[in-house]
């Protein structure tokens, strides 16, 4: 525990880590601010302008022509069973359409800004874990530390624990703060959030925090293996530049199940459907689904195996290799 406390102190004292945490906080605040601003209530003046605009649109000859065309054959436009009333209901613009924003709904944000925040925090936590380990190698201070604690596995795991806990705590604070901010704003605007949505959000926060912590840990483990921050960042860059494209070219069905990105999203979103061009859809088959389900369990297992592999190789080689 003493060593873990030392490494946590080293983690949070690193200037680069502090800058990354600050960047994560600012970006999270930016997403929260954008969301809050973009869903602000419509004031009286805006409402009046929007109503006038709706009036103008519905009075225009173009609209009247479109409505008439629709009412002549509603099923052509809106499918079987549609009638003339549907044309008026669906073609007429609403004031909300004109204003261009909808009220804040936390249920909608789960699939929108909630994911964005988790992705941002996760990426920055990978870099934090990476730079935490990379600084020890770049400065050569690893060998100095080994003169005070020569048991290599203890050192590896204490640092790993610091990366996991440090990034986990930071992610928990940031992601939780994001949702608390949205919840308080929604509450202040008189928008209720149902218990089911709150439960969904709690689980999403838990998944997001665990993902970000695992990312920090993974970045650390990979850097301890490559012994260079730039090496790890280069691996991530190469993956970002072409890794997903290469995976999609794998000559196997449902290659998306091997994609880190798809599995990350399956984990964040509690499972999801993944597009797969290898699923045949005959031209005649209406409503054919070219997607398959990637479950939360699959995403979690995939990410766990990936991190486990890097961890084992990194820890074993740290034990065996000479320390510069």
């Amino acid at each position: 525990m003493r060593l873990l406390r030392v490494e946590l102190s080293r983690f949070f004292s690193r200037r680069a880590v502090a800058m990354l945490l600050l960047a994560a906080a600012l970006l999270t605040a930016l997403v929260a601010g954008t969301t809050i601003w973009g869903t602000r209530p419509v004031d009286a003046a805006e409402q009046a302008r929007a109503e006038a605009r709706v009036q103008a649109i519905t009075s225009s000859p173009e609209y009247k022509r479109d409505l008439a065309n629709c009412q002549e054959s509603p099923e052509d436009l809106f499918g079987p069973g549609a009638d003339a009333a549907d044309c008026r209901r669906l073609l007429a613009p609403s004031t909300a359409d004109v204003v261009g924003r909808v009220p804040l709904a936390l249920a909608d944000e789960v699939d929108d800004s909630g994911i964005a925040v988790i992705v941002i925090v996760t990426v920055l936590m990978i870099v934090a874990g990476t730079t935490f380990a990379g600084a020890d190698w770049a400065s050569g201070s690893m060998s100095n530390q080994m003169l005070f604690e020569p048991r290599r596995q203890r050192v590896w795991w204490a640092k790993a624990g610091a990366a996991l806990v440090g990034t986990g705590v930071a992610a928990a604070v940031l992601i939780a703060a994001f949702w608390v901010a949205l919840y308080l704003v929604a509450d202040a605007r008189g928008i209720g959030t149902g218990a089911a949505v709150q439960t969904d959000i709690r689980w999403m926060v838990a998944r997001g925090v665990s993902l970000a912590a695992l990312a920090g840990f993974g970045g650390y483990a990979l850097t301890m293996l490559l012994r260079h921050t730039v090496g790890t960042l280069a691996v991530l860059f190469v993956y970002a530049a072409g890794g997903e494209a290469l995976i999609s070219l794998l000559p196997v069905e449902r290659s998306g199940q091997y994609s880190p990105a798809e599995n990350v999203f399956a984990w964040i979103r509690d499972g999801g459907r993944v597009f797969d061009s290898s699923i045949d859809c005959p031209v005649s088959s209406a409503g054919c689904d070219q997607t398959f389900q990637l479950t939360l369990l699959h995403g979690g297992a995939y990410l766990a195996v990936l991190v486990l592999l890097v961890t084992v190789v990194s820890a074993v080689l740290f034990q065996r290799r000479d320390i510069p």
Binding site: R10, S139, G140, S141, S143, L147, E149, R151, D322, I323
Partner: protein, 324 residues
């Protein structure tokens, strides 16, 4: 249980091989048998690339030995290194600390690793004359200050064995004097100091005993006075009326002779005891009388140069193959 009278450092048949990037095998240490008795300052000498630092790194668990045995305080290392590391302070090659942390912060992290209090850090900083600069960033330190900080780190443990690799590198004359005084004082207080240095005069001034290695092998070991004394009788400076004829006579009798201005420097066969009286007798029997005969006082440098020159002549051919 370790034998309390055991040498502080003991290596037997120690060997270290490594491969270059091109796959060529290099032998850095080749069957080294090293014994450092308890107490006093022991010099560890050898030309660049002779295996000094590699030996130190193996002793400290930073590099793996290919073959051979090592003991510190009678304990086999690296197996039992953690049991004795608390008694060892070491500076290996360049000082290595995190550049963005202050000197004090770097030491505090190391101190916490071994459970030492912050007061130990302040005391160590004061001992090396860095009390006033402890809160400055390490990267702002001069080389000499970095060296002092590295020595301060070794003092955090109150070590029984201090391993110092070129500790006066980068220090100004006053700093060199301070560090030498400190090393001498530590040696006299019962701490065993292994001092690896290129500065032979420094070693002769500070060390009680010395081991000289070349090409990864032990060339000589013993008390400094004994080594120097052994070299004292091996050369004499001779002044005669006819140096050319004197040289011919002496070479005929098996002496090695070279000119030094108007004088001759005469040495015996390295394998035979050398008696300066034989020089004057050899010349006198041929009617050449010595005007002046001065024993050339050997110093550690001349002993070192002779040993390492001989070694380089012997070891040159197999060096390319790597195997001994």
């Amino acid at each position: 249980m370790a034998d309390t009278d055991a040498p502080v450092i003991e290596t037997t048949g120690l060997r270290k091989e490594f491969r270059t990037r091109r796959g060529r095998r290099v032998v850095a240490v080749d069957g080294l048998d090293l014994v450092v008795p308890a107490g006093g300052v022991h010099g560890f000498l050898g030309p660049n690339g002779s295996g000094k630092t590699t030996t130190i790194r193996m002793l400290l668990g930073l590099a793996r030995a290919t073959r051979g045995e090592m003991r510190l305080f009678g304990q086999p290392v690296p197996h039992r290194l953690s049991a004795v590391m608390g008694r060892i302070g070491a500076v290996v090659e360049q000082p290595k600390f995190l550049p963005s942390f202050s000197g004090r912060k770097n030491l505090i992290l190391l101190a916490r690793t071994i459970g030492a209090p912050s007061s130990a850090v302040d005391s160590a900083l004061a001992q090396v004359g860095l009390a006033g600069r402890g809160r400055d960033r390490y990267k702002s330190y001069s080389l000499g200050m970095k060296q002092r900080l590295a020595i301060a780190a070794t003092l955090l443990k109150s070590p029984d064995l201090l391993i110092l690799d070129e500790p006066t590198n980068g220090l100004d004359p006053a700093g060199i004097r301070d560090i030498r005084t400190m090393i001498r004082g530590l040696g006299e207080s019962g701490v065993t100091v292994l001092l690896s240095s290129h500065i032979l005069a420094e070693v002769q001034q500070v060390c009680h005993s010395v081991s000289i290695i070349g090409s990864g092998r032990l060339l000589a070991s013993g008390a400094v006075d004994d080594l120097v004394a052994a070299g004292r009788a091996t050369r004499v400076r001779v002044e005669v009326g006819d140096p050319v004829r004197a040289r011919a006579i002496l070479e005929e009798d098996g002496f090695r002779v070279h000119h030094e201005g108007e004088r001759l420097v005469v040495s015996g066969d390295a394998d035979e005891p050398f008696d300066p009286e034989m020089v004057s007798r050899a010349l006198a029997t041929r009617q050449l009388y010595v005007r002046e005969l001065t024993p050339v006082r050997a110093d550690l440098e001349s002993v070192f140069l002779q040993l390492t020159r001989d070694d380089s002549l012997v070891s040159e051919p197999p060096a390319a193959g790597g195997a001994a």
